[in-house]
Structures are given as structure tokens and as C-alpha cells.
């Protein structure tokens, strides 16, 4: 059975950086399909197609072997802890996972709070940091627009990804601590990679080559 090989590409911030990097390479995404609402996009290589997925869903598609390869942020990987192979740090999409609070609020101010509330999409990384710092806090789980939480009193601070800091600045927030760093990673389905390395490794090398060819 010679099935089409699927690569899972992220939508959103990472996808916006990735798609131009692939233009003109053997894994360039079909422009007409990209403009449509289709989520399975042919590439310039016959027999290889891309799935466009939300970052939080992407690791599941790869772990289940639906997609053989994928590109996802290391922050998502660390948060989900799926059984995946992580073949390379692709370098792009670099950002920080930071504790951010309203301007004028320091880390010591947050430490001193008897009941600290932190809003985040990253509860696992936040809990690990709190344990390391010997702090306790109430975690407020959010799935988007975390910047609003300190402004509207939902939380004292947030733990979120910061790339340029522009969104933070626009909301009057500042970074008070860096919890970790994130970048795009090439991931592979363990089963596909170990049982069919002759099919999957060349595809991984093609993808790495396509991304390296760009300045």
C-alpha cells in the first residue's frame, strides 16, 4: 500500500513564518489550495501533502501516525508530552515563555501576594516553574487572549509566549521573568519513523533541506 505521505503544518504564528520559507522548494504548498478553505494541501512533490492544523491538535495527528512528520513549537510539545520523535530544532519561530504583569508590578510583588493568580495556556510549564521557585498559585486556564486577564482582574499576571513584545506593550504589560524558550521543531511519528525509515527519513531530509536553503 503506497499511501500519500502527510506532513502536519501549523496554522497561526508558526505557519505564517513557515509557508514563505517553503515557497519555491519541493515542499512548497499549492497556492490555490492555500487560498481556499481546504485543510489538506498538495505540495510541489507528488505523493506528499500537507495538513494545516492548530498547534494544540497537531501532535495528536503525528503521534497517531496520521501524519508522518510535523512542525510544531517546542512549547506545545513540552505542554502536551506526546509520544513523538523530535528530529530537529528548526530555529525559526523563536520566542520566550514569560511571566508578564502590568507595568510597575515586579516579580517580588507577585511573590509577596498571599493568593497569586496566574492565567495561562501553559499550565504544565507554569506549574514546573512555580515548583522550582517554591511558589504556589491558582492557575486560571485560558486558551487565547491571555493579555486581557491582568487588565480585567481575572489574574495578577500571565504566563504566555512573547516574541517581539509588541502585544504586551500594547496592553501595558511587561515581562517579569523568563520561564523558558521555544522554537519550531520537526517531529515524526515514532511508528512511521522506526518501521519505515526508508520512506520517512528522506522526507525529513527534504524538509530540512527546504528550510535550510532559505536565508
Amino acid at each position: 500500500m503506497n499511501q500519500t505521505l502527510l506532513i502536519a503544518f501549523p496554522k497561526g504564528r508558526l505557519g505564517d513564518e513557515l509557508v514563505p520559507l517553503l515557497a519555491g522548494t519541493p515542499l512548497a504548498l499549492d497556492a490555490a489550495a492555500l487560498k481556499s478553505r481546504v485543510l489538506r494541501i498538495p505540495t510541489a512533490t507528488p505523493g506528499v501533502a500537507a495538513l494545516l492544523l492548530k498547534g494544540a491538535d497537531l501532535p495528536r495527528y503525528v503521534a497517531a501516525g496520521v501524519a508522518s512528520l510535523g512542525i510544531v513549537g517546542s512549547d506545545t510539545l513540552d505542554e502536551m508530552d506526546m509520544d513523538l520523535l523530535e528530529l530537529a530544532d528548526l530555529g525559526f519561530g523563536a520566542c520566550r515563555l514569560s511571566l508578564c504583569a502590568k507595568a510597575g508590578v515586579s516579580l517580588d510583588d507577585l511573590r509577596a501576594k498571599p493568593h497569586l493568580r496566574l492565567a495561562t495556556k501553559f499550565p504544565k510549564a507554569t506549574e514546573a516553574w512555580l515548583a522550582h521557585e517554591e511558589l504556589t498559585a491558582e492557575l486560571v486556564p485560558l486558551s487565547s487572549s491571555a493579555e486581557l486577564a491582568p487588565l480585567l482582574g481575572l489574574a495578577d499576571a500571565i504566563v504566555d509566549l512573547v516574541q517581539t513584545g509588541g502585544t504586551l506593550k500594547a496592553h501595558g504589560l511587561v515581562e517579569t521573568a523568563i520561564l523558558g524558550r521555544s522554537s519550531a521543531r520537526l517531529v515524526a511519528a515514532r511508528g512511521a519513523y522506526l518501521s519505515e525509515p526508508g520512506r520517512i527519513r528522506p522526507l525529513a531530509e527534504m524538509l530540512l533541506g527546504a528550510l535550510k536553503a532559505k536565508p
Binding site: 497517531a64 523530535e86 528530529l87 530537529a88 530544532d89 521543531r185 511519528a189 518501521s195 519505515e196 525509515p197
Partner: protein, 322 residues
């Protein structure tokens, strides 16, 4: 990952018949090679471990057999002053699933080769690999891949560097992900960082036939691991001439699955396109000494539940049953 709804699949007609046929064929193979069947009780006698399926019978906490190797070890140490040298088992184990698609009840067939501590073990390792090589043909798999690894390739350098606990776990997790960059991240600032990262890169550089062993030459621990390399080399020389058609032999230097349990050579059976390994095993010389018996052991387990799933989802990978 927490799984809220355990998966208890029933086996209907064809699957039930296939399970009975496969169990019979595999147990026949093992019996032909001197492996005698033991059937440890379905109810665990030992303290219920975390991963077992536990429930209350009145006021008493009960757990079902969750792992044959552990259950057999209990039975053997309770029953025999000197162990039988070859034992086999077949049946179900019950384990809490880690991934949502895993069933709670899992059917397995396996075997164990047990020797007094200190006896040469290389021949036993090759014997088990030869037996596992016969399994794909018996199950009707059109093609399969046998991965040979060795847990000592990672364990010994970590021990030599005095790396234990969380840091060692982080290195093993990175190798399990086949991510040398994660090894570098985990060891940032540690005196062994460069050596262990170079070692990880060497282990991960190839996943191929016997030539893969030469990648060990690039490791800073090449001299430390000479005995393991020679052992793998001898095993390959014994196995390659008798390799059945449609079975490929690959060397996976970075096999770290079960590193806390395995102490030496490891075996993993795959089918092209399968998402999970179909059989796994290796040498685990610390199990019996940990139970107070000076015995060394190796074995493998064929995961029949995974094979049944594969036969249902990818029938093209199997020959038509005769």
C-alpha cells in the same frame, strides 16, 4: 495523560479465532525449543503497582496481573530454589492505559531464558533473537523488521559520568525522542555536556543494517562500550546468515525504551507501516537479584492485541490465512 474512559474491546469471530490460532502457533514454537509454560494467577499476590487495574472486593484491594515478567518473577522466586531455564506464557494482562487508544486488556505470548548469575549469556541472547525472527512468519506477516539495540550503550556512559536522577532521565527522554538538541539543552553547563551530546549524535546518526555499528566509533565512549559493540557484532554475524525472507535486521543504537528495566541487548519487532512495535524484549539482569535470587534473565513478549489491531486496520500487511 489521564484517560477517562478505559477501552475494553471485545473480540468477535475472526479476531477471536485469530487470537487462538496465533497463541497456539507461538506457544508451539516455544515448546519445540524447550520453553515450558507457566501460568501465573490472574489476580496479583504482590502489592498492587500503580499501573495495574485495581478494584475493591469487599474491603480487600485486588489487582489483576499487569505484567507477565513481573508476575512470573514472583511465581519463580516463590516456587523454585533453582529456576527452570526456559519458561513461556500466554494470556491477558490488565493495565491502565497511558494513551487513549490503548486497551485495558492486552493479550500477550512470551518467553524467558533464565540462568544462574555469571553464566555466559551471549548464546541465550542469540537464541531469543532467533526465536523472535521466526515470529513474523508464524503470524503471517508479509514483512517485518527486527531492531537490535543495547540498553548498556546509554546506561554505561551515564553511570560513568555519575549522572543519575532527573538529569539522567532528561537525557534518556531526549534520546527516546531522538533529539540530540534536547540532550544538549538538558545538560547545559554540565561537565559531561559535550561528551554526552556527541555520544547521542553518534547513537542517532544511523538506523540501518549491521554497518550502523560503526557509528559507535564517533562516540567519546567507544572504548567503554567495546564489549557491547563486540557482543552486537557477534550476534549479527550469527543471525544474518539465517535471516528469513521478508525479515529485515536493523541496528538501533538509540533504543532506550524500558531503560530502567533492560540492562543489555534489546529486541523490537516492527512491521512496515505499523504505528507500534509488535514484540519487544531484551536482557534484564537486575530483576531477580532485586528479588533476592542470583539469577540473570532475558526474554521477549509478543503483543498480540496490537497485532489483532493491525490485522483489522492493515490486512494488506498479512498473508491470507490458509
Amino acid at each position: 495523560m489521564a484517560v477517562r474512559t478505559p477501552h475494553f474491546p471485545d473480540l468477535l469471530f475472526n479476531s477471536a479465532a485469530r487470537l487462538r490460532r496465533w497463541e497456539g502457533a507461538l506457544m508451539g514454537l516455544l515448546a519445540d525449543h524447550g520453553y515450558r509454560e507457566l501460568h501465573p494467577s490472574l489476580v496479583l499476590r504482590e502489592t498492587p503497582p500503580e499501573g495495574a487495574l485495581r478494584f475493591f472486593d469487599g474491603d480487600e484491594l485486588v489487582a489483576l496481573r499487569w505484567d507477565f515478567t513481573v508476575a512470573l518473577a514472583g511465581l519463580l522466586t516463590r516456587t523454585f530454589p533453582a529456576p527452570p531455564d526456559r519458561v513461556a506464557y500466554a494470556g491477558a494482562v490488565f493495565r491502565r492505559p497511558v494513551q487513549p487508544w490503548e486497551a485495558v486488556e492486552r493479550f500477550e505470548v512470551g518467553c524467558e531464558r533464565i540462568q544462574p548469575e555469571g553464566e555466559p549469556a551471549a548464546e541465550a541472547d542469540v537464541e531469543l533473537a532467533r526465536l523472535l525472527m521466526a515470529v513474523p512468519g508464524l503470524l503471517g506477516l508479509k514483512s517485518a523488521i527486527l531492531h537490535l539495540g543495547n540498553a548498556a550503550l546509554v546506561r554505561r556512559p551515564l553511570e560513568a559520568e555519575g549522572l543519575f536522577g532527573e538529569l539522567a532521565d532528561a537525557v534518556v527522554a531526549a534520546l527516546s525522542r531522538r533529539a540530540p538538541h534536547r540532550v544538549r539543552e538538558a545538560l547545559d553547563g554540565h561537565p559531561s555536556a559535550v561528551r554526552l551530546t556527541t555520544h547521542a549524535e553518534a547513537l542517532l546518526s544511523e538506523l540501518d543494517g549491521p554497518g550502523t555499528l560503526s557509528a559507535l566509533a564517533a562516540s567519546p565512549y567507544a572504548a567503554l562500550l567495546e564489549e557491547e559493540r563486540n557482543h552486537m557484532d557477534r550476534a549479527l554475524k550469527a543471525l544474518l546468515p539465517i535471516l528469513p525472507p521478508n525479515l529485515e535486521l536493523r541496528v538501533d543504537l538509540a533504543d532506550v525504551a524500558g531503560l530502567g528495566f533492560y540492562t543489555g541487548p534489546t529486541l523490537r519487532l516492527w512491521a512496515p507501516g505499523a504505528q507500534q512495535e509488535l514484540a519487544a524484549g531484551g536482557r534484564y539482569d537486575r530483576l531477580f537479584p532485586g528479588l533476592g535470587r542470583p539469577w540473570q534473565a532475558a526474554g521477549f513478549c509478543v503483543r498480540l492485541s496490537r497485532l489483532l489491531d493491525l490485522a483489522a486496520t492493515r490486512p494488506d500487511l498479512f498473508e491470507e490465512p490458509r
